[in-house]
Symmetry: C3
Subunit: 342 residues, 3 copies
């Protein structure tokens, strides 16, 4: 999703830009589908979006400053093509400015947190659609994972990030995000360190968010993938905790796989959420198929089912409020769609 | 308005896009003018916009998938250049993804309804400015035509559309739009079928919107144009109905013309709204002139006057609340402006 | 800030645009930094933005109409890259359409007021960051300068502007902005006339805003700069008045300078606000340094301190509410950042 798909061009004749290596890129994705979900006894048919990729529009660019130094910017917003709105903040997916060189990359602005990446990199379904493993992270009707205000599970505002330069297969990211005066669930520090080489990719992530001066939320995770011919095996482990209420935690485990078959990919995952507390136990099974019409355009279908233990209310993406009186309701959904990137 | 005016380019050297036929296009319109309107005894001078075209910014593209198959996207939003805001939803004018081939086009997302098109295609004033025939559709101060919540008079969210391929002069569109769980004035089904050949263009449209489970709004219309040398004759007929309150309907008729004179076009229209109920009768006379400085840039002037029958409150675009105590108030307005497309 | 940095291209092969002189330009700035401010006894550390330039995204273009006539458009919005939002109106920085020729330029839409320009052109810090001289214009906690609703200190909606053509060093702008029916702090008329030649640039500006039918706000200003080798001297004088409450005025004076040193520029300014009324007296001292990594990318650092007289509450950009009980509190701040233009 981060490839440059269309360069607006380093048109030096028009631009008066010194370096031919400089460029600005317009990019985006429109992903629309039809979804049918069921929570307990309540079902819902919708036109859905973001079944396998998040719809977006962005602009980014790199300027060669000479001497191995580069400057870059990236502004990217979410779009809701099913109804034509922008989602929330306008460039909320990422808005950064960077200095890059042999030392690595220094990046300022709104960006993905280091503790987020393993969620999506090591999930055959990414973090999109009814099959996303993050369905087992925050329960339906809760604004954040522990009912508190941590807003950094995916991105953080006001962040200063550092990325390691290419060093063999080693990669890494560290981030500090300002709370800008009052702890509001956004003050964050975290890091991620990983290794990718040959068939192996493995990474560890950690993040800590100040919800109030006396309440931090921490997340720790490990993800890995292993490629065996046409089949890639995926695994994830996550542990989340808050200080208040005391000893509230949640542990998530996932195993999954993706089988490349010509222009198609068959995917599955099985995940489990557990906790020392009650009302946080559930399992999810997801299967999906993606058929590539080109590198930019795909047809897809996904099915997922969540089985909640007593009191838990995890749900597949886009599902309605739980109906019925079952204290262990299941949630399921399927969708078919068309994703096009530009 | 739908031509590609500037291609950002199929810069394959930068883009890594396989097909030279693929492209992304940035496009838009800025249309600003001065408007003077009068409703009964109240008059208003404003800077106006959209006098002959709706101001907008959009991005769209087509990818050649090989074998006659193409994928496409289109995201287009309204802008209000008089005050610098975006209007309502950000990409609300259209946000779609398409698969196209010999079979026609399958299109998903927010799009124009089939029952809308005849309003604009067969009106010499389009649906813009003080002279638009749609002034006789919804009365001043009403949020939708019958005081109910149909939001599909122009576009529908969550739509699945199908367009006929080129077949001689025959053209057609069918659409189903999801209500996404609750009838809210957006659940819609409709179709349009037309023929354009030689001097003739004629089309029939039909649309049905679920306002509540027991109240549908239907619209049926016929439009035609006939070209005779430099003069084009236009005609429209529309019939709208809601189930609740019972037997509430409205019928609109219009005749109009456009006379090409070198770089200029002289336009007029006369329209009439009538109903079995009271308070829905009015006539509108509109005259206008558009002077093209280029294909992209035009100066224009328009005058229109509406005569309301007892209780009706139709008004020209941008007019103020009706002043005075006249139960048959007239509404009039004129504007001059500059439209530039990019 | 108004240079064309990247032309999307006059790609006539794709565009079907007749004239090779026509172009559309995508442009923008991302400016992010770290800021530490102190108001009285309260201090605040933040990630800041717009330290030396306002972050933005825009599209603009010029079309050659032949015969010396050109049409142009400009839509430009603010972005907040520290948190990923757009600021206020989406294209609120400027949204205009123009006709240009030997007669000058006629411009319609939302644009900068003539009475604004001297604020930024003749301030070595522009109107950005902790050192901007406009810090001494409107006090902390007030929505506009005199507690009334003039919204035209920088830009006006619904404006008709005229710009003189190039005539030796003479330049000028006149503007009338519609209140669109009710005086709301936006109805405006103003003009600016200046001369730039050799080392000298000097301009006079005037603007009058209708806040209510019986209350106008007027602003009058004079700005000048003089270049002596690597050093440029800057001076500004401003006088603001409102009719209600009677005789409320404020006068601002500034002297400043910028010293070019290779790739760096050292800047300072000293300003003073005074008034016939109390609670409007303060001084500001600002020093800064900008290091250019290229024409598009700069590192910068700025420090500024405001000393308020009794009752005045002027504050540096981004500072928190005043703490403590001092009736003459000072406000200070420093910031370091990275500005990248595209």
């Amino acid at each position: 999703m981060k490839k440059s798909l269309l360069a607006l061009a380093a048109l030096t004749a028009f631009a008066g830009v010194a370096s031919a290596q400089s460029s600005v890129t317009l990019f985006g994705i429109v992903d629309l589908g039809l979804r049918n979900t069921k929570n307990g006894s309540t079902s819902l048919k919708t036109m859905s979006q973001d079944g396998i990729a998040s719809s977006r529009l962005g602009f980014r660019g790199v300027e060669d400053l000479g001497g191995g130094l580069r400057a870059g910017f990236w502004i990217e917003g979410a779009i809701n093509p099913d109804v034509g709105t922008s989602a929330g903040q306008t460039w909320q997916r990422r808005s950064t400015v960077s200095l890059m060189g042999n030392f690595g990359e220094l990046r300022l602005g709104r960006d993905y947190t280091p503790s987020f990446w393993n969620h999506t990199v090591f999930d055959p379904f990414g973090t999109n659609g009814v099959g996303a493993q993050t369905n087992l992270q925050t329960q339906l009707g809760q604004t954040s994972m522990f009912g508190a205000g941590a807003t950094t599970l995916v991105r953080a505002n006001n962040s200063i990030g550092y990325f390691l330069p290419a060093m063999g297969g080693l990669y890494g990211q560290a981030m500090v995000a300002h709370s800008d005066g009052s702890p509001n669930g956004n003050g964050y520090k975290g890091l991620r360190i990983g290794f990718a080489g040959g068939p192996v990719n493995v990474a560890f992530g950690y993040g800590q968010t100040e919800i109030t001066p006396t309440n931090d939320q921490t997340g720790m995770n490990l993800g890995a993938s292993f490629k065996m011919g046409n089949f890639t095996l995926f695994g994830q482990w996550h542990k989340y905790e808050v200080d208040v209420p005391a000893n509230t935690d949640q542990t998530n485990l996932m195993i999954g796989g993706a089988l490349a078959m010509g222009a198609g990919t068959l995917k599955f995952s099985y995940g489990k959420a557990s906790s020392d507390a009650t009302s946080r136990e559930a399992t999810q099974l997801a299967v999906g198929y993606v058929h590539d019409l080109s590198k930019r355009t795909s047809l897809y279908g996904t099915f997922a089912k969540i089985s909640n233990e007593a009191g838990a209310r995890f749900a597949v993406s886009g599902a309605p409020a739980f109906g019925g009186t079952d204290n262990k309701p299941s949630s399921s959904g399927y969708e078919v769609g068309l994703r096009h990137a530009f």
